[in-house]
Subunit: 427 residues, 2 copies
């Protein structure tokens, strides 16, 4: 039996509520001896950690740095090496396009053609406003090629997403991109027979677009690459019998949640907005995925203190989540984004799991005195000779936690278990 069959077999519905709070890129690396999480003043997280199970999770496998797609699949309980989310799909999700079963999504660039040669692969990075204008013209003029629906959506600057909709489409095509300037237009080629129709449509599209844009120099042709069909992922409902909802601000994360069948709740842009949305819809679902983006954004920018401040902002809203008394609460990252590296990294995610039936462990550096002090006054540092380090939710505390190091795709099964939503396997 594979793990998905197992989940289908043992999962049951009940009225317990699961909340998964994801701080994107949460894990970090020390700068001046402390990570972002160790630096942040997080009295509420620290207190919660002292009575939770802690651990570290590998998004994909030890040593593997994931993109957002596989990292989230893993958090949602899927084997991230089993399902590949093509670049075109992520791009489409990123601009808020739903990709259906009959669709092929393609990443596009507007580019500049002069005397039959591509002289700029990004059309001078035209303004996003100009892009929107051109895209509107094209959507008006090219609605269909043969029996295939054509729809463009603007991205930032020179980028757009092309969505093809029709029967018998395939994503097995070569890139229509010379990959260097000074070359002619390159057309797509089918990688197998089943992709010949799509190749023909794509190439007719390139010619049609180029014909329509003669007056739009420098955006007078396009490059296409990263063709992708939507992956056949079984929904959370089917695997876990969950009625799941997502509270995310950025389109890509809404899209990833949609790929696994979550309902997308509309919300505002701040953590406060997201927590309010959680409260408002708390009665309607049994699983909530709340995604906080800016920890990752600051990490990618190398902005250590920015990332610290998002963690602190999150900590201030945490008590409002706790007031809901979720039966199972997990706080984690999808991957680490250390400000030191200015990039996603392979370091495992801190994981905090709070539920009724568990085995918490004292935090490192925590003595009995420290527990007593902390219980009374969360923000006050431990005092007295025995207490060198204040109890703290951190990568180190998680490394010493009862959950040990585990695969992130096991996070959701552990949440299911703690919500008593898994029956016994075997007699």
């Amino acid at each position: 039996m594979d793990r998905e069959e197992l989940f289908k077999k043992i999962s049951v519905e009940n009225d317990k509520k699961i909340v998964l709070l994801v701080l994107d890129g949460l894990g970090g690396l020390p700068v001046n001896g402390k990570t972002e999480l160790e630096t942040a003043r997080t009295p509420n997280l620290d207190l919660l950690a002292a009575e939770s199970e802690l651990g570290l999770s590998h998004p994909i496998a030890p040593g593997i740095t994931p993109g957002s797609g596989p990292a989230h699949l893993s958090l949602f309980g899927y084997d991230p090496l089993k399902y590949e989310i093509g670049r075109g799909i992520l791009e489409a999700l990123g601009v808020g396009i739903a990709v259906g079963k009959k669709d092929v999504a393609v990443r596009g660039n507007f580019a500049t053609l002069e005397n039959g040669l591509i002289v700029d692969r990004r059309a001078g990075r035209i303004a996003t406003e100009k892009n929107r204008e051109i895209t509107a013209v094209l959507n008006e003029k090219i609605k269909k090629i043969e029996d295939v629906g054509i729809r463009l959506t603007s991205g930032e600057e020179h980028r757009f997403v092309l969505l093809l909709t029709g029967d018998g489409l395939s994503d097995a095509l070569t890139d229509a991109d010379p990959e260097a300037v000074g070359k002619s237009i390159v057309y797509a080629r089918a990688k197998n027979e089943g992709a010949e129709k799509t190749a023909r449509i794509v190439n007719l599209f390139i010619d049609r677009l180029t014909a329509e844009l003669t007056a739009f120099h420098p955006a007078n042709t396009c490059l296409l690459r990263g063709y992708a069909q939507t992956p056949a992922i079984p929904p959370l409902k089917e695997l876990f019998k969950l009625n799941a909802a997502a509270i995310a601000v950025y389109p890509m994360y809404k899209g990833l949640a949609q790929l696994v069948g979550m309902e997308i709740l509309s919300t505002g842009r701040t953590i406060e907005d997201q927590v309010r949305t959680l409260k408002k819809h708390y009665a309607d679902h049994d699983f909530f995925f709340l995604h906080i983006k800016k920890t990752d954004s600051y990490g990618e920018d190398g902005n250590f203190s920015g990332k610290v401040s998002v963690i602190e902002e999150f900590d201030r809203w945490l008590p409002e989540v706790l007031e809901l008394r979720p039966d199972v609460l997990v706080i984690t990252g999808d991957h680490s984004t250390p400000a030191l590296l200015k990039a996603h990294s392979w370091h495992p995610n801190p994981v905090l799991l709070k539920a009724a039936f568990q085995r918490p462990m004292p935090l490192p550096g925590r003595s009995l005195d420290a527990v007593a002090v902390a219980d009374r006054a969360p923000a006050v540092r431990g005092k007295g000779k025995a207490v060198h380090i204040r109890a703290k939710f951190s990568e180190k505390a998680c490394a010493g936690g009862v959950l040990g190091n585990f695969m992130a795709m096991d996070t959701l099964p552990m949440m299911m278990a703690n919500a008593l939503k898994f029956k016994k396997y075997g007699a």
Copy 2:
């Protein structure tokens, strides 16, 4: 996507240097309360451990005691249950024979034939010198059978390795070994049609050898078993884009390194020689595997203090390795060989990983005071009330390390990540 496809997809070349120091059989068990590693005075290792990531690795899986073959495959990043290294191959590697794609390696014993019956399966354990003499005679007289090249190489006492070289050979044969005395010569049988040629050659070889050795009683016939072709292991270059070199003293380890495509650097017999070789060739490769054998040999002999002394000798040369400032350094074993058990064991390997981007953790029993004391005077025990246990690189420290318990085959991927030789997986 399987892990090897993943590695091929995400690995990149750069100028970072990785050094893998393997003390064979490093892990141990306590005798009088301390393991070999805990008993050894290792000030340099201890200091290094305090600023490294530590963990414990299972060579194959929890509870599985490995031989040297699978244990090393695992350290080199391969799934040790995917590739089987036949006994004949290991025997060939052990006597320093390279086995090519057209070869079949076979383990041989000289044996004693009297009145048509095998009366001694080891020919009275003839002296190794005598073995060499006989083997030289045979190599002179039997160079080819049909179109298949024949080459014998002496092992210790009655043992030899037979190498068959030719087209259309197979290792799917039954043993040519009665497995008891008082029985006739047993010939090999083909397990399938493709092995019939090889069975014929092997059996003709037994008869030719027996005919040539009438005057060499007690070594006047042979037994053959453990036929093996070289496993089709994709080289490190292909999986990880590494230009790897091995610095090993014993032929089997050179052979294992060669199986995965490492260049074998010639070196002397001492740890000092091996470290000098590392320094000499440091500019020429981006991955170095340095193998120290004697920890295992003493372990197998039950010589606790012998094993301790090899660990101490290694510690004295460690600073010379550190002076090279490798970008990623791992110190570990291939498996444990506790002197208490006089054998390989299933206990996981201590692992130390030192690199730029990491999350070290205080060693158990180590307070901030202990760190300060250790930094100033490595060999001096911590003093003062707060310091109960001197910081020490040990199995226990590794059990409490940030890396947790993991599979040894993930060691090399983690080294790749820390050397920034892995790109992000997925977008």
